[in-house]
Amino acid sequence: MADRVKDRSDMRLVEYSEIRFKYGLQVHKKVLFTVLCLALAVVGVGVTLSVGKFDIGFLESYIIIWNHLMGVEPTTLMGETKDFIVWDLRLPRAIMALFVGAALAVGGVVMQGVMRNPLADPYTLGVSSAASLGATLCIVLGFSLVPGLTKSAGTMVNAFIFSMIPIVAITLITRFKKTTPTMMILSGIAIMYVFSATTQLIMLYADPDNLADAYSWSVGTLGKSSWENLPVVIAVTVVGMALVSMMGKQLNILSAGDKISTTLGVDTGRCRVLLMLLVSITTATVVSFTGTIGFVGLVAPHVVRFFIGSDNRYVIPASACLGALLLVLADCVAKEAGATGLPVGVITALIGGPLFIALLIRQRRKVWN
């Protein structure tokens, strides 16, 4: 009898260790995927430094960076130009691509989880249309919420402040009325329509010059990246992602539905609003510097789930790395496309869309939920 119990206990131990081993393997697979994406993103940054309309070789780019770090001044006009292009244009742009891609992808994960809707992305609450209105007001009408700024700075500040409006509106609604994710999405869509209509109204009366500028802003570009605006984007993105990562468990529970979440002791309303606020502030910051870059926030989380499943504790960092990689690669194409390059927002949509459809068709198992 004792032997039989011992055998059973041994068998359980074996099963347990097998499960642990398998679980460990799965975790390793997830970590490996994340590390791989991160490594590829870093390699992508290395490549993008030598990609652009100005002809600078791969090794030459690194020599320029090395010389710049060592304080070696260029001696010729061409040397000065190359130094400016690599150091002041390409490097901050590449770093910006990393963080913006990560921020948008994490935003997508959170919004999809919180809203329990696979179509949600960081702009679902109307952040992008509100930011567009703010930017258009400054570009077309010269109206800046903070007087005395240059057109470029005014556009940025307007975009940020306006993109906070839908967030504040939805937060207020949730204070007075218990809201469901569906209601939040619908509120976001309603807000989006109001802002879009106002933007279009202004654009109707814009002169061609301003119209082109406003449209160009709305497409989304990394061209405005500079060393001056990088610290803000990096700080907000890192803090936002860290806080969201810390709430990975709660996000998992939220994704299971309000009833289960409440049963498990999660204050769904508070948790949802907190996560949305974090994502929206991060997205608003990013959008004010780059315009609306679409698709990364939608595609990256789905691709990640396809490979590593739906556990948000792993999906969040993996999506951040994949989002960064996608945007860095898309920006390589954007810089080379056309006669003068294209806005990266066009490329993410052009390439991301078909890729996403192909992925959905090839997908055999259900990873959502």
Binding site: F54, F84, R90, T150, P208, S216, T221, G223, S225
Partner: protein, 421 residues
Amino acid sequence: MNRNQIIAIAAVIILAVAGAAVVLVTSGDDGPSDMDTTGRLMVYGNATNDDYLDNEDVKCLEDIISSGTWDKEASPLADADQDGSITEADVDMVKRLVNGESMTVYYNGYSGGDPAICKVKYPIVNCVVAGTNPAMILKSIGCQDLVVGYALGTSPDTVYFSDIIANGEAVSDSILKVDEEIFSELGTRTIITQDSASYIKNESTFVLSGADVVRIAASNTQDSLSSAITLGFLMQREESAQAYAKYCDDLLADIEKKLEEVDEKVTSLSVTMSNSVGGTTSDYYDATTRAGSINIADWNTTTQKYEEGAEWIHQYPAQFIIHARTLGYGEIDIQKTWTSNGELFSDTHAYKNGNYYILNGNIPVHLRVAYMAEIFYPDIFGEGYGDKAHQEYVDEFLDNLSGKYDVSEQFVGVISASDVS
């Protein structure tokens, strides 16, 4: 009569004949046949292919008929009625045109942005104008009193266009559009606008109602003069149009002459709107080269957009960047204009070297060339060259500003780094 007397009489006769010949030759300016023959009057029937439609054309047509040969290179505009041959009907039509009789005439214009043979009811007794450049031409050739409606954008230059604004009616908020209903109430049948297809996209609506849309090239040095002369003829203001053409010709000739002193040409790029860098087919490309610079743009499209952070412009390290903006004849916030336009170009070599200039583009294209020439070669053209030529233009051709507007005091033609803090 002795030998000395004969020699004296012969000498007097020779001197008299020579004197008469000199008088005849030098007084040739009074007759159209002795003036320049640059072929800029683009109306069919201009058989002599010069700047005028007169009895010389009638004679030329008669010669073609009698000889039975039509040299199409020498007389490309001879076929007045556009039936493919030169007949008595063409002669009759030109005779009636010379007499100023009403009829439909054919001219070289534009359709869908491309050159085309167009027709218009002659004479144009009044019109609506859409676009700043065509409106400037109309004013320059003294046709402002014939403008009954205007499309000059939401904030037209109220100083330069004060007479057009006072006498006409706004037909839309955009320079590109004319409202059909307002147009129909103005009692005119002609719209004069720019050659680009972006202007008056609903042209077919006006044509269906029997109106004519006359499209002219108004922002190129040569084509704008051709347009001025052609419009002058169509609106029966030949004399003022010819005077304007002569003023522009003289100005360009003077610039060309002064440019002969240039040892080494400077390089340039031109920019219009907020960030459209002119290519080889751009009007501003033409203007910068006429001002004596080597424009280093090598793309064939009209413009290429330069967005913030783009690298391509650094492949064209021009010494000068001329950024043309619509600033007008009124007061300008120089600092704000400089900051809002120059910010984008602040990383270019031209800007860093103090050679980024904002040019007030609300002036005829020939004056733009004068201002640019002064920018490129200040030692040769001297300070105030552009303003001087401009003042002459204001006094000669702008009735509403003549004697009242001091260009050097009131007009901001160029904004440079030295003008701002």
